[in-house]
């Protein structure tokens, strides 16, 4: 809990969740608070430090989106338009963001909505989470009017009129509302409902290399955007060359004539400062930008950089192994810009014999692991995940099946090999799952399948289809 001085009174400025449970609330006099909680630990508020740490948090949040702005005293704006797919979905992004902030020991609530004002209200006075597109009004209407960011005196005046909920305020006739409470109440209401646009001025840390270009006449054509982008990229790469750094993440911000903004973010698999290559990564996504009435300003921000030492320019065609390596980096960047960096990967062996656990994903440009799976194990090329039950008949217990029915088709087994027993790995957390006996079977037509029995026949083992050799 922190306190600060208002006039001659010492007033609670912020209280943690535990303190709020005991009945303390912000704005309470310190003496009253101490009367409520005997051993109250109160710290003098340090607004400057708070603001500095909020800025620090905002800089950290740039990892999620290029457009981040601190919302004093205790909030952050993050514009996730166009970046949510990099995390899978908006829900996944939100879950990732809150869990990482919580792990740093900061209590946080977050919400995603169409309008900044709506997200503000839902995060603070609603349930948080993602407000679906077009449902902003429904989500905000039931919230308290404190979620509207209006001054305290106007708030109490509204309370006196019996207006508690945003929906009530929205239902009031507009002209008397403006006359009585001023223009800003109406504006805040519109912003919360998503009717009025609210710009977020992105925080760009000072030392970040940026290149920007403002136009006297707004531009809108794709070819123009591309040529400007290339120029900016060249400018940025010159700056980076002086600092011997390379880009890992690049943000392109557009400022439209109507004050709306748009942004594109791309990532690279390794530090890079090849202007043409970087500009090309934006190609695919540039088409999705709606220029509206025209674009006034374009800013290119290298939001994440890494040291990159000068390398000799490679000449193509010399058959240099190093050159091939570099090419892979550019290819991975281009693929990543299309489908997201997480979807470009390599598979590395895991020392385990349970089929579902034999592979793990590693970054596409990770150094070669050099390790392989044991080569003497026959493994199918395609795996069914999860395995599908089959009805099988074996002539003798613990023999390979003679017939089996899979997906309503009856197969006659001509030859078989097995069993290969794969036991559960308790050190990997397998509990209770029985050992599997795998058989490779070949049907009369020559199709080869990988099927297993999850327990000995005597114990009522069932048969499952797990993979296909052919």
């Amino acid at each position: 809990m922190t306190v600060h001085t208002v006039g001659s009174r010492r007033v609670v400025r912020a209280a943690c969740a535990a303190a709020q449970e005991t009945g303390l609330h912000v704005g309470m006099a310190l003496a009253q608070a101490q009367a409520l909680v005997p051993n109250l630990h109160a710290v003098e508020a340090a607004p400057d430090e708070d603001e500095a740490s909020l800025r620090e948090l905002a800089r950290w949040a740039i990892g999620y989106s290029p457009v981040v702005a601190p919302d004093r005293p205790d909030g952050l704006w993050i514009d996730i338009a166009g970046v949510a797919h990099l995390f899978g979905s908006e829900e996944e992004l939100l879950a990732d963001l809150t869990s990482r902030i919580t792990r740093q020991g900061i209590a946080a609530k977050a919400a995603v909505a169409d309008a900044p004002g709506a997200a503000w209200a839902v995060a603070r006075y609603g349930a948080g989470g993602v407000v679906p597109t077009g449902r902003t009004v429904d989500a905000v209407a039931t919230l308290s009017i404190r979620g509207l960011r209006i001054a305290a005196d106007k708030l109490s005046a509204l309370h006196r009129l019996g207006i508690e909920r945003v929906g009530q305020l929205a239902a009031m006739p507009r002209a008397p509302l403006v006359r009585r409470f001023g223009r800003d109440v109406a504006l805040r209401l519109d912003q919360a409902l998503g009717h009025a646009f609210e710009p977020i001025t992105p925080l760009i840390p000072k030392e970040t290399p940026t290149a920007s270009c403002a136009f006297a006449e707004p531009i809108a054509r794709l070819e123009d955007l591309k040529s400007v982008l290339l120029r900016l990229a060249k400018d940025l790469c010159r700056q980076l060359e002086r600092r011997s750094e390379g880009v890992r993440r690049l943000d392109l911000l557009f400022q439209r004539v109507d004050q709306k903004s748009a942004c594109i973010r791309i990532g690279t698999a390794r530090a890079n400062r090849d202007a043409a290559h970087l500009a090309k990564l934006f190609d695919e996504r540039l088409q999705t930008i709606d220029p509206g009435f025209g674009i006034e300003e374009i800013v290119l921000v290298a939001s994440k950089v890494e040291p990159l030492t000068e390398t000799q320019t490679q000449v193509r065609g010399l058959g240099d192994a190093e050159a091939e390596e570099a090419d892979m980096g550019q290819l991975v960047d281009r693929l990543g810009a299309r489908i997201g960096m997480r979807r470009v990967y390599r598979l590395a062996p895991v020392p385990s014999l349970v089929p579902e656990r034999m592979v793990r994903r590693i970054p596409a440009l990770a150094p070669p692991t050099g390790s392989v799976w044991p080569e003497n194990l026959p493994r199918p090329t395609r795996l069914l995940n999860p395995p599908e039950p089959v009805v099988a008949t074996a002539l003798l217990p613990d023999h390979p099946p003679r017939f089996f029915v899979w997906r309503k088709v009856r197969h006659t087994v001509a030859k078989a090999d097995g069993p290969e027993r794969i036991t559960p790995e308790w050190w990997n957390g397998d509990k209770g799952s029985a050992a599997r006996d795998y058989y490779r079977v070949e049907t009369e037509q020559g199709g080869r399948f990988w099927i297993f029995r999850d327990a000995p026949t005597a114990d009522g083992g069932r048969w499952w289809m797990h993979g296909f050799f052919s």
Partner: protein, 249 residues
């Protein structure tokens, strides 16, 4: 024909070769089997689009086609890009054809229609050995694009045609601009003297190849270096088998 005319002819041939693009500069990849390499001009053309279709019992899973394709990719030198949408590929199985996991970069698209641009993106990268794509729909125009991209860089494109419904199965039969089209079906393997399984056998059909007649072989599946083999007991009569099948159909 006088020497002047011969020079002129050689010059024209050179010009035609230049028009036809880079695919003639690199030698084709031999299968290491005389039957195949003599039938195809030297082997599988590099810098070209090849299509693989599975025919068999669980053909929607394309088990043998995957191994056949992995075997070709393994015998090429350099990294391989594998574009897929479904997560049913089992990497340890690819090792059976000698495709080392360190060589393969996977690009997983969410939707089927994202696959073709990914393959094309890969084909524009000279450093790759091959791009493998798992595709259901590939129009004539799309395949032409891929073929041109492959010709320009010399990267081999191997497309596994996959399907899950009967309508999609019919789609696979439509013509494309691929240089070769293969159909792989499992065949009964050799009977072993003791219980157990011998090397897999495939019925490998060359359905389409420019300037070459379609033909069928019974072959033994890829070994740990991606090489196919001619079955010992069928080595002298595979032609007759193919003829019989042709007569029956």
């Amino acid at each position: 024909m006088n020497p002047g005319q011969q020079d002129r002819l050689a010059d024209l041939r050179l010009q035609i070769a230049r028009f036809e693009g880079g695919s003639h500069k690199t030698k084709p990849l031999p299968f290491g089997l005389r039957a195949l390499d003599e039938h195809l001009p030297g082997g599988l053309a590099r810098g070209a689009l090849h299509e693989m279709i599975e025919a068999g019992l669980a053909s929607e899973f394309a088990g043998s086609t995957t191994l056949f394709t992995a075997g070709i990719a393994a015998r090429l030198k350099g990294p391989v890009l594998w574009c897929l949408t479904r997560r049913d590929l089992f990497a340890p199985g690819l090792l059976r054809a000698g495709l080392h996991p360190d060589r393969v970069i996977y690009a997983e698209a969410e939707r089927e229609r994202e696959i073709l641009p990914l393959i094309e993106e890969g084909l524009r990268e000279k450093g790759l050995a091959a791009v493998v794509g798992e595709v259901t729909r590939m129009s004539l125009i799309a395949s032409r694009r891929l073929q041109l991209a492959a010709e320009a860089t010399g990267v081999t494109a191997l497309v596994i045609r996959r399907w899950w419904t009967l309508a999609e199965k019919d789609l696979v039969q439509l013509p494309t601009a691929a240089v070769t089209r293969w159909r792989i079906a499992p065949a009964p393997s050799e009977l072993m003297p003791a219980p157990g399984l011998g090397r897999e056998r495939w019925q490998v059909e060359l359905l389409r190849c420019r300037g070459v007649e379609p033909r069928t072989w019974i072959l033994e599946a890829c070994d740990a270096k991606g090489r196919l083999a001619l079955p010992a007991d069928l080595a002298d009569r595979s032609d007759q088998a193919a003829d019989r099948r042709a007569a029956a159909s």
